[in-house]
Protein backbone atom coordinates (compact mmCIF):
# COMPACT_ATOMS: atom_id res chain seq x y z
CA UNK A 1 0.00 0.00 0.00
CA UNK A 2 1.09 3.59 -0.60
CA UNK A 3 0.66 6.61 1.63
CA UNK A 4 -0.69 9.61 -0.27
CA UNK A 5 -0.89 13.13 1.16
CA UNK A 6 -2.82 16.04 -0.33
CA UNK A 7 -0.49 18.93 0.40
CA UNK A 8 -3.26 21.44 -0.41
CA UNK A 9 -4.92 20.16 2.74
CA UNK A 10 -2.02 19.30 5.09
CA UNK A 11 -1.58 22.02 7.73
CA UNK A 12 0.96 20.41 10.06
CA UNK A 13 -1.54 19.43 12.74
CA UNK A 14 0.71 16.41 13.26
CA UNK A 15 -2.03 14.10 14.48
CA UNK A 16 -0.58 11.53 12.04
CA UNK A 17 2.86 11.88 13.63
CA UNK A 18 1.43 11.18 17.07
CA UNK A 19 -0.21 8.02 15.77
CA UNK A 20 2.58 6.68 13.50
CA UNK A 21 5.87 8.57 13.87
CA UNK A 22 7.71 5.88 11.85
CA UNK A 23 5.87 7.08 8.74
CA UNK A 24 4.81 10.70 9.41
CA UNK A 25 7.27 13.38 10.43
CA UNK A 26 6.31 17.06 10.72
CA UNK A 27 9.58 18.97 10.87
CA UNK A 28 10.35 22.27 12.55
CA UNK A 29 9.36 24.15 9.40
CA UNK A 30 5.89 22.58 9.62
CA UNK A 31 6.52 20.39 6.55
CA UNK A 32 5.21 16.84 6.53
CA UNK A 33 7.77 14.28 5.40
CA UNK A 34 6.68 10.73 4.58
CA UNK A 35 9.44 8.51 5.92
CA UNK A 36 8.11 5.23 4.49
CA UNK A 37 6.10 5.68 1.28
CA UNK A 38 5.13 1.96 1.10
CA UNK A 39 4.66 0.88 4.71
CA UNK A 40 4.41 -2.80 5.66
CA UNK A 41 1.00 -4.44 6.14
CA UNK A 42 1.58 -4.49 9.91
CA UNK A 43 1.14 -0.71 9.93
CA UNK A 44 -2.25 -0.74 8.20
CA UNK A 45 -4.25 -0.35 11.42
CA UNK A 46 -2.35 2.74 12.54
CA UNK A 47 -2.37 4.12 8.99
CA UNK A 48 -6.15 3.87 8.85
CA UNK A 49 -6.35 5.65 12.20
CA UNK A 50 -4.19 8.48 10.81
CA UNK A 51 -6.45 8.70 7.74
CA UNK A 52 -9.52 8.85 9.96
CA UNK A 53 -8.21 11.35 12.50
CA UNK A 54 -6.37 13.86 10.29
CA UNK A 55 -8.46 16.99 10.93
CA UNK A 56 -8.02 18.12 7.35
CA UNK A 57 -8.56 14.63 5.88
CA UNK A 58 -5.32 15.05 3.93
CA UNK A 59 -4.16 11.42 3.99
CA UNK A 60 -5.27 8.49 1.86
CA UNK A 61 -4.04 4.96 1.23
CA UNK A 62 -3.58 3.68 -2.32
CA UNK A 63 -3.38 -0.05 -2.86
CA UNK A 64 -0.53 -1.11 -5.10
Amino acid sequence: MKVVVDYDLCEANAVCMRILPEVFQVDDKDSLNILIEHPPESMRGKLKEAVRLCPRQAISIEED
Binding site: D8, L9, E11, A12, N13, D30, P55, R56
Partner: protein, 442 residues
Protein backbone atom coordinates in the same frame (compact mmCIF):
# COMPACT_ATOMS: atom_id res chain seq x y z
CA UNK B 1 -44.61 4.73 5.69
CA UNK B 2 -43.61 3.78 9.22
CA UNK B 3 -44.93 5.69 12.20
CA UNK B 4 -42.76 8.53 13.43
CA UNK B 5 -42.36 9.14 17.13
CA UNK B 6 -41.64 12.84 16.65
CA UNK B 7 -43.34 15.99 15.43
CA UNK B 8 -41.39 18.07 12.92
CA UNK B 9 -39.56 21.10 14.23
CA UNK B 10 -38.77 23.96 11.88
CA UNK B 11 -35.11 24.52 12.67
CA UNK B 12 -34.97 27.68 10.56
CA UNK B 13 -36.87 29.24 13.48
CA UNK B 14 -34.41 30.20 16.24
CA UNK B 15 -37.19 29.74 18.79
CA UNK B 16 -36.85 25.98 18.20
CA UNK B 17 -33.67 26.38 20.29
CA UNK B 18 -35.23 28.40 23.10
CA UNK B 19 -34.86 25.60 25.63
CA UNK B 20 -31.34 24.76 24.51
CA UNK B 21 -30.33 22.48 21.65
CA UNK B 22 -33.25 20.07 21.01
CA UNK B 23 -31.29 16.89 21.68
CA UNK B 24 -34.37 14.69 22.11
CA UNK B 25 -35.61 15.71 18.67
CA UNK B 26 -32.25 14.92 17.08
CA UNK B 27 -32.08 11.58 18.88
CA UNK B 28 -35.37 10.68 17.22
CA UNK B 29 -34.19 11.94 13.83
CA UNK B 30 -30.93 9.95 14.00
CA UNK B 31 -32.97 6.86 14.80
CA UNK B 32 -35.90 7.29 12.44
CA UNK B 33 -35.10 9.86 9.74
CA UNK B 34 -31.41 10.77 9.75
CA UNK B 35 -31.60 12.71 6.48
CA UNK B 36 -34.70 14.69 7.25
CA UNK B 37 -36.49 17.21 5.06
CA UNK B 38 -37.16 20.39 7.05
CA UNK B 39 -39.98 22.42 5.53
CA UNK B 40 -39.43 26.08 6.25
CA UNK B 41 -42.42 27.93 7.62
CA UNK B 42 -40.47 30.66 9.42
CA UNK B 43 -39.67 33.74 7.30
CA UNK B 44 -39.81 31.77 4.06
CA UNK B 45 -38.46 34.60 1.95
CA UNK B 46 -35.41 34.77 4.16
CA UNK B 47 -34.91 31.06 4.81
CA UNK B 48 -36.01 29.47 1.55
CA UNK B 49 -38.57 26.70 1.10
CA UNK B 50 -36.69 24.06 3.07
CA UNK B 51 -33.52 22.08 3.64
CA UNK B 52 -32.18 18.67 4.64
CA UNK B 53 -31.23 18.22 8.29
CA UNK B 54 -28.02 16.15 8.37
CA UNK B 55 -27.88 14.49 11.78
CA UNK B 56 -25.38 11.62 11.65
CA UNK B 57 -21.64 11.84 12.28
CA UNK B 58 -20.63 9.93 9.12
CA UNK B 59 -22.86 12.08 6.92
CA UNK B 60 -21.62 15.39 8.38
CA UNK B 61 -18.06 14.12 7.94
CA UNK B 62 -18.66 12.91 4.38
CA UNK B 63 -20.16 16.22 3.28
CA UNK B 64 -17.39 18.18 4.99
CA UNK B 65 -14.73 16.24 3.08
CA UNK B 66 -16.45 16.74 -0.27
CA UNK B 67 -16.46 20.51 -0.92
CA UNK B 68 -16.98 20.23 -4.69
CA UNK B 69 -20.29 18.38 -4.25
CA UNK B 70 -21.37 20.10 -1.03
CA UNK B 71 -20.42 23.66 -1.83
CA UNK B 72 -19.77 26.53 0.56
CA UNK B 73 -19.73 29.06 -2.25
CA UNK B 74 -22.94 28.21 -4.11
CA UNK B 75 -25.32 29.55 -1.46
CA UNK B 76 -22.95 30.57 1.33
CA UNK B 77 -22.79 28.77 4.66
CA UNK B 78 -25.73 30.21 6.59
CA UNK B 79 -29.18 28.68 7.00
CA UNK B 80 -30.82 31.79 5.59
CA UNK B 81 -30.70 32.71 1.92
CA UNK B 82 -28.53 35.50 0.58
CA UNK B 83 -29.23 37.21 -2.70
CA UNK B 84 -27.55 39.63 -5.10
CA UNK B 85 -24.92 41.85 -3.52
CA UNK B 86 -25.13 40.09 -0.15
CA UNK B 87 -24.35 36.71 -1.70
CA UNK B 88 -21.62 38.14 -3.88
CA UNK B 89 -20.08 39.92 -0.89
CA UNK B 90 -20.24 36.79 1.25
CA UNK B 91 -18.18 34.92 -1.36
CA UNK B 92 -15.33 37.33 -0.61
CA UNK B 93 -15.03 35.60 2.75
CA UNK B 94 -12.88 32.50 2.84
CA UNK B 95 -15.49 30.53 4.73
CA UNK B 96 -17.79 30.85 1.71
CA UNK B 97 -15.25 29.69 -0.87
CA UNK B 98 -14.60 26.32 -2.49
CA UNK B 99 -11.34 24.89 -3.80
CA UNK B 100 -9.25 25.95 -5.65
CA UNK B 101 -9.84 29.53 -4.47
CA UNK B 102 -10.32 28.46 -0.85
CA UNK B 103 -6.95 26.72 -0.78
CA UNK B 104 -5.12 29.84 -1.98
CA UNK B 105 -6.78 32.12 0.57
CA UNK B 106 -6.28 29.83 3.49
CA UNK B 107 -2.64 29.42 2.60
CA UNK B 108 -2.11 33.17 3.22
CA UNK B 109 -2.48 32.70 6.96
CA UNK B 110 -2.56 28.97 7.75
CA UNK B 111 1.12 28.84 8.67
CA UNK B 112 0.41 31.25 11.56
CA UNK B 113 -2.12 28.87 13.11
CA UNK B 114 -0.27 25.54 13.20
CA UNK B 115 0.10 23.83 16.59
CA UNK B 116 3.82 24.60 16.54
CA UNK B 117 3.30 28.32 15.91
CA UNK B 118 0.52 28.59 18.47
CA UNK B 119 2.69 26.86 21.05
CA UNK B 120 5.06 29.85 20.84
CA UNK B 121 2.19 32.04 22.03
CA UNK B 122 1.20 29.76 24.89
CA UNK B 123 3.15 31.64 27.55
CA UNK B 124 1.70 34.99 26.53
CA UNK B 125 -1.85 33.59 26.31
CA UNK B 126 -1.45 32.16 29.79
CA UNK B 127 -0.28 35.56 31.05
CA UNK B 128 -3.35 37.24 29.53
CA UNK B 129 -5.58 34.62 31.17
CA UNK B 130 -3.90 35.30 34.51
CA UNK B 131 -4.61 39.03 34.15
CA UNK B 132 -8.25 38.35 33.31
CA UNK B 133 -8.74 36.24 36.43
CA UNK B 134 -6.85 38.93 38.40
CA UNK B 135 -9.45 41.42 37.26
CA UNK B 136 -12.30 39.46 38.92
CA UNK B 137 -10.47 37.49 41.64
CA UNK B 138 -11.12 39.78 44.60
CA UNK B 139 -14.72 40.66 43.71
CA UNK B 140 -16.49 37.46 44.75
CA UNK B 141 -19.00 37.76 41.91
CA UNK B 142 -19.17 38.85 38.29
CA UNK B 143 -20.88 38.32 34.95
CA UNK B 144 -18.88 35.38 33.64
CA UNK B 145 -19.64 36.27 30.00
CA UNK B 146 -18.45 39.87 29.75
CA UNK B 147 -15.93 39.82 32.60
CA UNK B 148 -14.23 36.49 31.79
CA UNK B 149 -15.37 34.49 28.75
CA UNK B 150 -15.39 37.36 26.25
CA UNK B 151 -12.03 38.77 27.28
CA UNK B 152 -9.35 36.31 26.20
CA UNK B 153 -10.71 35.60 22.69
CA UNK B 154 -11.06 39.33 22.02
CA UNK B 155 -7.59 40.21 23.27
CA UNK B 156 -5.85 37.33 21.53
CA UNK B 157 -7.52 37.56 18.13
CA UNK B 158 -6.98 41.30 18.02
CA UNK B 159 -3.33 40.90 19.02
CA UNK B 160 -2.65 38.16 16.49
CA UNK B 161 -4.34 40.25 13.79
CA UNK B 162 -2.55 43.43 14.93
CA UNK B 163 -5.42 45.73 15.96
CA UNK B 164 -4.15 48.73 17.97
CA UNK B 165 -5.24 48.76 21.63
CA UNK B 166 -7.33 51.92 21.31
CA UNK B 167 -9.60 50.37 18.67
CA UNK B 168 -10.24 47.04 20.36
CA UNK B 169 -13.31 47.91 22.43
CA UNK B 170 -15.20 49.39 19.48
CA UNK B 171 -14.43 46.34 17.35
CA UNK B 172 -15.52 44.07 20.15
CA UNK B 173 -18.90 45.85 20.43
CA UNK B 174 -19.38 45.65 16.66
CA UNK B 175 -18.47 41.99 16.37
CA UNK B 176 -21.17 41.18 18.95
CA UNK B 177 -23.75 42.33 16.43
CA UNK B 178 -22.57 40.06 13.69
CA UNK B 179 -23.40 36.67 15.08
CA UNK B 180 -26.41 37.59 17.16
CA UNK B 181 -28.41 38.53 14.09
CA UNK B 182 -31.50 36.68 15.23
CA UNK B 183 -31.42 38.08 18.74
CA UNK B 184 -33.32 41.34 19.10
CA UNK B 185 -31.21 42.40 22.05
CA UNK B 186 -28.01 42.49 20.02
CA UNK B 187 -29.46 44.03 16.92
CA UNK B 188 -32.79 45.34 15.82
CA UNK B 189 -32.77 43.94 12.33
CA UNK B 190 -30.81 42.17 9.68
CA UNK B 191 -29.86 45.63 8.40
CA UNK B 192 -28.16 46.57 11.67
CA UNK B 193 -26.04 43.45 11.36
CA UNK B 194 -25.19 44.36 7.81
CA UNK B 195 -24.14 47.86 8.93
CA UNK B 196 -22.00 46.47 11.73
CA UNK B 197 -20.36 44.09 9.26
CA UNK B 198 -19.66 46.99 6.90
CA UNK B 199 -18.09 49.01 9.70
CA UNK B 200 -15.86 46.12 10.76
CA UNK B 201 -14.91 45.52 7.14
CA UNK B 202 -14.03 49.23 6.70
CA UNK B 203 -11.81 49.02 9.72
CA UNK B 204 -9.86 46.47 7.74
CA UNK B 205 -8.99 49.35 5.42
CA UNK B 206 -7.43 51.31 8.30
CA UNK B 207 -5.43 48.24 9.30
CA UNK B 208 -4.14 47.62 5.81
CA UNK B 209 -2.96 51.26 5.69
CA UNK B 210 -1.03 50.73 8.92
CA UNK B 211 0.76 47.59 7.73
CA UNK B 212 1.37 48.94 4.24
CA UNK B 213 3.76 51.43 5.82
CA UNK B 214 5.12 49.10 8.43
CA UNK B 215 5.22 45.32 7.85
CA UNK B 216 4.67 43.46 11.11
CA UNK B 217 4.65 39.89 12.25
CA UNK B 218 0.86 39.70 12.40
CA UNK B 219 -2.08 38.53 10.31
CA UNK B 220 -2.99 42.01 9.02
CA UNK B 221 0.46 42.17 7.50
CA UNK B 222 0.44 38.58 6.18
CA UNK B 223 -2.84 39.31 4.40
CA UNK B 224 -1.57 42.59 3.02
CA UNK B 225 1.76 41.33 1.72
CA UNK B 226 0.59 37.85 0.66
CA UNK B 227 -0.46 36.95 -2.86
CA UNK B 228 -3.22 34.87 -4.43
CA UNK B 229 -2.39 33.84 -8.04
CA UNK B 230 0.42 36.42 -7.97
CA UNK B 231 -1.93 39.24 -6.94
CA UNK B 232 -2.50 41.05 -3.68
CA UNK B 233 -5.95 40.89 -2.15
CA UNK B 234 -8.14 43.75 -3.30
CA UNK B 235 -9.64 45.95 -0.54
CA UNK B 236 -12.95 44.04 -0.51
CA UNK B 237 -11.23 40.68 -0.18
CA UNK B 238 -8.86 42.04 2.46
CA UNK B 239 -11.59 43.65 4.52
CA UNK B 240 -13.82 40.58 4.40
CA UNK B 241 -10.95 38.35 5.47
CA UNK B 242 -10.45 40.65 8.45
CA UNK B 243 -14.19 40.58 9.17
CA UNK B 244 -14.25 36.79 9.11
CA UNK B 245 -11.30 36.58 11.53
CA UNK B 246 -13.07 38.98 13.92
CA UNK B 247 -16.26 36.95 13.93
CA UNK B 248 -14.70 33.51 13.95
CA UNK B 249 -12.17 34.39 16.64
CA UNK B 250 -14.53 36.12 19.03
CA UNK B 251 -17.94 34.65 19.65
CA UNK B 252 -17.02 30.99 19.28
CA UNK B 253 -14.26 30.78 21.89
CA UNK B 254 -16.27 32.98 24.23
CA UNK B 255 -19.21 30.62 23.89
CA UNK B 256 -17.07 27.53 24.52
CA UNK B 257 -15.58 29.12 27.65
CA UNK B 258 -19.07 29.91 28.95
CA UNK B 259 -20.53 26.46 28.29
CA UNK B 260 -17.42 24.77 29.68
CA UNK B 261 -17.82 26.62 32.98
CA UNK B 262 -21.56 26.01 32.98
CA UNK B 263 -21.00 22.27 32.51
CA UNK B 264 -18.44 22.19 35.32
CA UNK B 265 -20.75 24.09 37.67
CA UNK B 266 -23.53 21.62 36.83
CA UNK B 267 -21.23 18.61 37.27
CA UNK B 268 -19.15 19.30 40.38
CA UNK B 269 -17.81 15.73 40.48
CA UNK B 270 -16.28 16.35 37.06
CA UNK B 271 -14.88 19.69 38.15
CA UNK B 272 -13.33 18.11 41.24
CA UNK B 273 -11.34 15.74 38.96
CA UNK B 274 -9.89 18.75 37.12
CA UNK B 275 -9.13 20.71 40.30
CA UNK B 276 -7.32 17.69 41.73
CA UNK B 277 -5.53 16.92 38.46
CA UNK B 278 -5.12 19.94 36.12
CA UNK B 279 -3.30 17.67 33.65
CA UNK B 280 -6.81 16.49 32.66
CA UNK B 281 -7.81 19.97 31.47
CA UNK B 282 -6.77 19.51 27.80
CA UNK B 283 -8.95 16.41 27.59
CA UNK B 284 -11.81 18.24 29.31
CA UNK B 285 -11.58 20.91 26.60
CA UNK B 286 -12.16 18.19 23.96
CA UNK B 287 -15.22 16.95 25.85
CA UNK B 288 -16.56 20.54 26.05
CA UNK B 289 -16.19 20.74 22.26
CA UNK B 290 -17.94 17.41 21.76
CA UNK B 291 -20.73 17.97 24.25
CA UNK B 292 -21.54 21.59 23.43
CA UNK B 293 -19.99 22.74 20.17
CA UNK B 294 -20.31 26.54 19.90
CA UNK B 295 -21.21 26.35 16.21
CA UNK B 296 -24.42 24.35 15.90
CA UNK B 297 -24.85 24.49 12.14
CA UNK B 298 -23.30 25.28 8.81
CA UNK B 299 -24.93 25.05 5.44
CA UNK B 300 -23.81 23.56 2.17
CA UNK B 301 -25.51 23.54 -1.26
CA UNK B 302 -25.55 20.50 -3.58
CA UNK B 303 -23.85 20.99 -6.95
CA UNK B 304 -25.26 17.68 -8.25
CA UNK B 305 -27.85 15.09 -7.28
CA UNK B 306 -26.86 12.70 -4.49
CA UNK B 307 -28.49 9.62 -2.97
CA UNK B 308 -28.17 9.30 0.78
CA UNK B 309 -29.90 6.79 3.07
CA UNK B 310 -32.72 6.32 0.62
CA UNK B 311 -33.27 10.03 0.06
CA UNK B 312 -32.60 11.85 -3.22
CA UNK B 313 -30.87 15.13 -2.60
CA UNK B 314 -31.22 17.29 -5.70
CA UNK B 315 -28.73 19.67 -7.25
CA UNK B 316 -29.37 23.06 -5.65
CA UNK B 317 -30.78 21.58 -2.42
CA UNK B 318 -29.61 23.03 0.86
CA UNK B 319 -28.20 20.77 3.59
CA UNK B 320 -27.61 21.83 7.20
CA UNK B 321 -24.84 20.03 9.07
CA UNK B 322 -25.86 19.75 12.74
CA UNK B 323 -22.65 19.41 14.73
CA UNK B 324 -24.20 18.86 18.17
CA UNK B 325 -26.15 15.93 16.71
CA UNK B 326 -23.08 14.43 15.02
CA UNK B 327 -21.28 14.69 18.35
CA UNK B 328 -23.97 12.61 20.09
CA UNK B 329 -24.11 9.93 17.38
CA UNK B 330 -24.65 6.60 19.12
CA UNK B 331 -22.67 4.81 16.41
CA UNK B 332 -19.54 6.76 17.31
CA UNK B 333 -19.78 7.70 20.98
CA UNK B 334 -20.68 5.30 23.76
CA UNK B 335 -23.30 6.77 26.12
CA UNK B 336 -23.17 10.04 24.16
CA UNK B 337 -25.33 12.13 26.49
CA UNK B 338 -22.99 11.52 29.42
CA UNK B 339 -20.65 14.44 30.05
CA UNK B 340 -17.28 12.95 30.98
CA UNK B 341 -14.08 14.99 31.08
CA UNK B 342 -12.03 11.77 31.02
CA UNK B 343 -13.64 10.44 27.82
CA UNK B 344 -10.89 9.26 25.49
CA UNK B 345 -12.34 9.65 21.99
CA UNK B 346 -10.75 12.60 20.16
CA UNK B 347 -12.71 12.57 16.93
CA UNK B 348 -15.57 14.96 17.68
CA UNK B 349 -16.76 17.40 14.99
CA UNK B 350 -16.94 20.47 17.23
CA UNK B 351 -14.24 22.16 15.12
CA UNK B 352 -15.42 20.68 11.83
CA UNK B 353 -13.25 18.50 9.61
CA UNK B 354 -11.66 18.56 6.16
CA UNK B 355 -11.43 21.57 3.84
CA UNK B 356 -12.96 24.07 6.29
CA UNK B 357 -11.65 22.56 9.55
CA UNK B 358 -11.45 25.42 12.00
CA UNK B 359 -8.39 27.48 11.12
CA UNK B 360 -8.16 28.66 14.71
CA UNK B 361 -8.46 25.21 16.32
CA UNK B 362 -5.04 25.22 18.00
CA UNK B 363 -5.46 28.88 18.93
CA UNK B 364 -8.84 28.23 20.55
CA UNK B 365 -7.56 25.17 22.39
CA UNK B 366 -4.60 27.14 23.79
CA UNK B 367 -6.95 29.84 25.07
CA UNK B 368 -9.36 27.34 26.61
CA UNK B 369 -6.55 25.44 28.35
CA UNK B 370 -5.17 28.67 29.76
CA UNK B 371 -8.40 30.20 31.01
CA UNK B 372 -9.65 26.99 32.59
CA UNK B 373 -6.31 26.34 34.28
CA UNK B 374 -6.40 29.82 35.80
CA UNK B 375 -10.05 29.54 36.83
CA UNK B 376 -9.87 26.04 38.28
CA UNK B 377 -6.72 26.70 40.29
CA UNK B 378 -7.78 30.11 41.64
CA UNK B 379 -11.60 30.20 41.83
CA UNK B 380 -12.55 26.50 41.91
CA UNK B 381 -15.88 26.96 43.70
CA UNK B 382 -17.63 29.16 41.16
CA UNK B 383 -21.41 28.71 41.21
CA UNK B 384 -24.37 30.31 39.44
CA UNK B 385 -25.64 33.53 41.03
CA UNK B 386 -28.59 34.13 38.74
CA UNK B 387 -30.35 32.91 35.61
CA UNK B 388 -28.36 32.24 32.45
CA UNK B 389 -29.55 34.22 29.42
CA UNK B 390 -29.08 32.46 26.08
CA UNK B 391 -28.60 33.97 22.65
CA UNK B 392 -31.59 33.47 20.37
CA UNK B 393 -29.97 31.65 17.46
CA UNK B 394 -29.97 28.50 15.31
CA UNK B 395 -26.32 29.04 14.46
CA UNK B 396 -24.27 29.88 17.55
CA UNK B 397 -25.04 28.29 20.91
CA UNK B 398 -24.36 31.63 22.61
CA UNK B 399 -24.79 32.76 26.21
CA UNK B 400 -25.38 36.48 26.79
CA UNK B 401 -25.21 36.62 30.58
CA UNK B 402 -24.14 34.17 33.29
CA UNK B 403 -23.91 35.68 36.80
CA UNK B 404 -21.56 33.74 39.08
CA UNK B 405 -20.20 33.96 42.62
CA UNK B 406 -17.10 32.41 44.18
CA UNK B 407 -14.82 32.71 47.18
CA UNK B 408 -12.69 35.82 46.57
CA UNK B 409 -9.09 35.02 45.77
CA UNK B 410 -5.85 36.95 45.70
CA UNK B 411 -4.59 38.68 42.58
CA UNK B 412 -1.41 37.19 41.15
CA UNK B 413 0.10 40.69 41.02
CA UNK B 414 -1.06 44.15 42.22
CA UNK B 415 -3.41 46.12 39.95
CA UNK B 416 -1.69 48.66 37.76
CA UNK B 417 -3.15 52.16 37.99
CA UNK B 418 -3.71 52.03 34.22
CA UNK B 419 -5.20 48.55 34.28
CA UNK B 420 -8.07 49.56 31.98
CA UNK B 421 -5.76 50.52 29.14
CA UNK B 422 -2.96 47.98 29.64
CA UNK B 423 -0.93 49.99 27.19
CA UNK B 424 2.49 48.84 28.33
CA UNK B 425 4.80 47.93 25.47
CA UNK B 426 4.83 44.30 24.53
CA UNK B 427 7.43 42.31 26.44
CA UNK B 428 10.73 41.67 24.70
CA UNK B 429 10.43 38.64 22.47
CA UNK B 430 6.63 38.84 22.45
CA UNK B 431 5.75 36.93 19.28
CA UNK B 432 2.74 39.12 18.58
CA UNK B 433 4.72 42.32 18.26
CA UNK B 434 8.12 41.67 16.77
CA UNK B 435 8.77 44.17 14.03
CA UNK B 436 9.64 47.81 13.52
CA UNK B 437 7.30 49.11 16.21
CA UNK B 438 8.12 46.70 18.97
CA UNK B 439 11.53 45.35 18.11
CA UNK B 440 12.34 42.41 20.32
CA UNK B 441 15.57 42.94 22.23
CA UNK B 442 18.46 40.74 21.17
Amino acid sequence: MSQRSFVDLDLSDPDSFAGGFPHAYFRALRREDPVHWNDTRHLVERNGRGFWDITRYQDVKMMSRNPMLFSSSEGGTNIFELHGDDLHGSRSMMINMDPPQHVKYRRLVAHNFTPRMIEKLEGHIRELAREIVDSIAERGSCDFIMDVAAQLPMKTIMEIVGVPEEDQQRLFDLSNKLVGFDDPEYQGSFDEGRMAAAEVAMYGQKLSDLVAECPMNNLASALYHGKVDGQSLDPLQYNYFFLMLMVAGNETTRTMTAHGMRLLMENPDQRRKLVENPALIPNAVEEFLRYNPPVMSFRRTLTDDYELRGKTLRKGDKVILWYPSANRDEEVFADPDRFDVTRQIPEHLGLGIGEHYCLGASFARAQLRSIFTELLTRVPDMEPAGPIRYLRSNFINGIKEMPVRYTPAARSQPARTDEASQSSPAPAGCPFHQGPQGQASA
